[in-house]
């Protein structure tokens, strides 16, 4: 396990470069992101450990970052002051572009993986904005009317994007639809929808709504998304059947889940980061040859688990809230990086903790 200390800055998000297997960006904030400066670190993985190749300081906290899909040296930051900034790591000190449209803290930024000329941002002001790096103003604003913690383009289509927000809903937008009164909204799924009743088990009822903090599109199955948040459950959804409830529910985290990401290599494998100071690896049970859930999981007190999914391992080396985690796109299929409020970035191999 490699380690880097973001001295004085508490991590909020970590992302592997899509171009280099040895480059990681970390968005971090002073004073736990409550008040004060932000800093974006560009870290290099070298034979001598992790070294900071560069960093940029910002006036306000940074909550998320994403690499440009079209330019190897550029990346975006999500700022507490409502700004979205584009930095070029071959330059110094200042961003190449800064967009100030959001009225409140920006919580996520994400580059379009298919049509590489757009990116999005989502904010506490209840909107998602679509941008082109060459335009001075946003292209489209999609309202969610609710603090939107996470928004993402589908990795399978340039015009489909999704979000989760504090109103406990997952929304799917399709930019090809006419911008009518629904503002491209094609689907709005209550995340607290109980799973369908199964043979031999009563359907759970009355699951209370709770803030959804993170979600991710499966990289192989184009209708599958996973969501998670304050109620500590990871849920897997198939948007072909939006009213059918989750197809898998994975309980286990002891506090809210802050970040969720599907493996770029394995279609059934998820990684989560939580306020309970752990990162956990999960299978949603969809892959062939996965051993059935162990009896302990079946005995889960709340009996909330659904499907054959299970926790495959956990990494408990962080000593504070874990806020960011990401998979390496290259090389062996288990490398990942995590960051958290303990001012540390850890780079580790998930295969070492999987059972």
């Amino acid at each position: 396990m490699l380690e880097y200390r973001t001295q004085g800055y508490n991590g909020y998000s970590v992302k592997y470069s899509p171009f280099f297997d040895s480059r990681i960006a970390v968005a971090a904030s002073a004073n736990f992101g409550l008040v004060g400066n932000g800093r974006i670190y560009i870290l290099g993985l070298t034979p001598n450990g992790i070294v900071a190749e560069k960093w940029f300081d910002t006036q306000d906290s940074l909550f998320d970052t994403t690499w440009s899909e079209s330019h190897e040296n550029q990346l975006l930051t999500a700022g507490g002051d409502g700004s979205v900034k584009l930095f070029d790591i071959s330059l110094s000190d200042y961003p190449v572009q800064s967009w100030q449209e959001h009225a409140r803290e920006v919580f996520s930024v994400h580059w379009n993986l298919v049509g590489k000329d757009t990116f999005l941002s989502s904010s506490w002001d209840g909107t998602i904005k679509i941008w082109n790096p060459n335009a001075n103003a946003s292209l489209t604003t999609l309202p969610t009317h609710s603090c939107t913690y996470s928004a993402e383009f589908s990795p399978h289509s340039p015009s489909i994007l999704s979000s989760v927000s504090s109103d406990s809903h997952m929304r799917v937008f399709d930019l090809r639809t006419p911008a009518s009164a629904s503002n491209h909204l094609t689907m709005s799924i209550p995340i607290h929808t109980p799973p369908k009743a199964r043979m031999g088990a009563a359907a759970p009822v009355g699951i209370p709504p709770s803030e959804a903090l993170t979600h991710d599109w499966n990289k192989y199955r184009d209708t599958i998304l996973a969501t998670a948040g304050v109620d500590r459950m990871v849920r897997v959804w198939d948007i072909r059947n939006p009213s059918g409830g989750p197809i898998a529910v994975l309980p286990g985290h002891e506090y809210a889940i802050r970040r969720l990401t599907w493996s770029p290599h394995l279609s059934d494998t998820l990684l989560s980061a939580s306020y309970d100071m752990t990162c956990r690896v999960w299978t949603d049970g969809s892959a062939m040859g996965v051993p059935p859930a162990n009896p302990q999981n079946m005995m889960d007190a709340s009996n909330m688990s659904l499907g054959e999914g299970r926790e495959m391992g956990r990494m408990g080396r962080h000593t504070e809230f874990v806020t960011g985690v990401d998979w390496c796109l290259f090389g062996a299929e288990g490398w990942c990086a995590s960051t958290g409020w303990d001012e540390r970035v850890l780079v580790w191999d998930a295969r070492a903790i999987m059972q």
Binding site: F32, G33, L34, V35, S61, G80, E105, C147, V205, G206, I207, P208, P209, S210, E211, L213, G229, V230, D231, R232, Y255, A256, R258, Y275, S302
Partner: protein, 414 residues
């Protein structure tokens, strides 16, 4: 007060957001978790409730009843009176809200001058509001230990003087003028318009009596009742004697739906409401000791319950009885509970008609409602019942080993 216009408020909002992520575990499981900053109840008790005008407390002032409740509270909980910072007393009929005499009662009961005392009036739910006020004051950090209480002598203070004449301005506003319609009359109308038959009301009332008498016989009230020694004038001989009241004297044996069916309606000839299926006029007092869990643990106080959440919803004055049906879903929503997550509901029986309506409207399981009877059986001293319901609820939850309770009441004027 603090200026909240600058960056401080932004930091505050970000902090409360993260706090929300951590404490966001809603629902029954989250509610049953124990945290150091929970507001908890360590003692809840009441005097017996006695019949207005003829019961054991007919010659005792409300403040004296309160004094008795306070003394027993100090004795039973073993709390050092010096540590109690504030007392809120719900009272409806006392002139001037009773603020003066309740403060005096607190001092006489052994609280030092540093323990402040206020009275408040939210009609029938004043006692409940007193407990909520104290819980909120503790939650916000204004005080650390407080008492929510209620005191009412309907024998001495019930009458037309309780409401002043309405001005022309109020009379000319339709909904405002409705506030003056006597509760019996409007409940009668409501029962009629909502189609609640007399037979159902009588059945409900008889059950309240039967549950109460059974509970009384088994001694289920003994734990929450503080017996009181008072002066009492025998109406036959005019002789003043000292008696000890330790039982609710409004609870009558042998009441059945059939026996209630014979009583003449009180408010209109073809009406359905009568003395037997409405709450009794009573005297009594109740007190609930509240503090933070961490404080209770430090002082070695025995924790008997946790205050979770309160809600209040206004309803039209003419339909004031539907209050619980409006407020209970709100509090369940706030706590993320399903109605079936709740083990016991204490819903005040102002009238069998309105209580029945709320139960049906919410689709509650009747077995969970007022398991030891309610105000129809042992009386409704207006400002006290809310605090009484807290003690009755917690005692019953403890006895039956259950965990989640809801207490609710309707409020005159909606």
């Amino acid at each position: 007060m603090a200026n909240q216009t600058g960056r401080n408020s932004q930091a505050q909002e970000r902090l409360s957001q993260v706090t929300g992520h951590l404490s966001g575990k809603k629902g029954r499981q989250g509610l049953l978790e124990k945290h150091a900053d929970d507001v908890v109840v360590t003692c809840a008790l009441r005097t017996p409730f006695t019949k207005g005008g003829k019961g054991g407390f007919k010659d005792t002032a409300a403040a004296d009843l309160l004094h008795g409740a306070f003394k027993t509270l100090i004795e039973r909980s073993g709390i050092d009176p010096k540590l109690v910072e504030d007392i809120a007393v719900g009272a409806v009929l006392a002139p001037g809200g009773g603020a003066t005499e309740f403060r005096a009662a607190a001092l006489a009961a052994g609280f030092p001058v540093t323990t402040s005392c206020k009275s408040l009036n939210r009609q029938c739910s004043s006692g409940l509001q007193a407990c909520v006020d104290i819980a909120n004051a503790i939650k916000s950090g204004m005080i650390e230990i407080g008492i929510g209480a209620g005191a009412e002598s309907m024998s001495q203070q019930y009458g037309p003087q309780a409401v002043t004449e309405f001005s022309e301005l109020l009379e000319s506003h339709k909904e405002a003028a409705n506030c003056k319609v006597p509760m019996g009359v409007l409940s009668e109308k409501m029962a009629k318009s909502k189609g609640i038959a007399r037979a159902d009301q009588d059945k409900f009332a008889a059950e309240s009596f039967q549950k109460a008498i059974e509970a009384q016989k088994k001694g289920l009230f003994d734990e929450e009742i503080a017996p009181l020694k008072v002066k009492w004038t025998d109406p036959k001989t005019d002789e003043e004697k000292e008696i000890t009241v330790s039982k609710d004297d409004g609870v009558r044996e042998g009441i059945t739906a059939e026996s209630l069916a014979k009583i003449r309606p009180a408010f209109s000839k073809d009406g359905s409401i009568h003395a037997g299926n409405a709450s009794q006029i009573s005297d009594g007092a109740a007190a609930v000791l509240l503090m933070k869990r961490s404080t209770a643990e430090r002082l070695g106080q025995k924790i008997i319950g946790k205050f979770v959440q309160a809600s209040i919803v206004g309803v039209p004055p003419l339909l004031m009885g539907v209050g619980p049906a409006a407020a209970i879903p709100v509090v369940l929503g706030k706590t993320g509970l399903d109605k079936d997550d709740v083990d016991i509901y204490e819903i005040n029986e102002a009238f069998a008609s309105q209580c029945l309506y709320c139960i049906n409207e919410l689709g509650l399981d009747k077995a969970k409602i007022n398991p030891k009877g309610g105000a129809i059986a042992f009386g409704h001293p207006l400002g006290v019942t809310g605090a009484r319901q807290v003690s009755t609820l917690l005692t019953e939850l403890k006895r039956t080993g259950k965990s989640v309770g809801v207490t609710s009441m309707c409020i005159g004027t909606g």
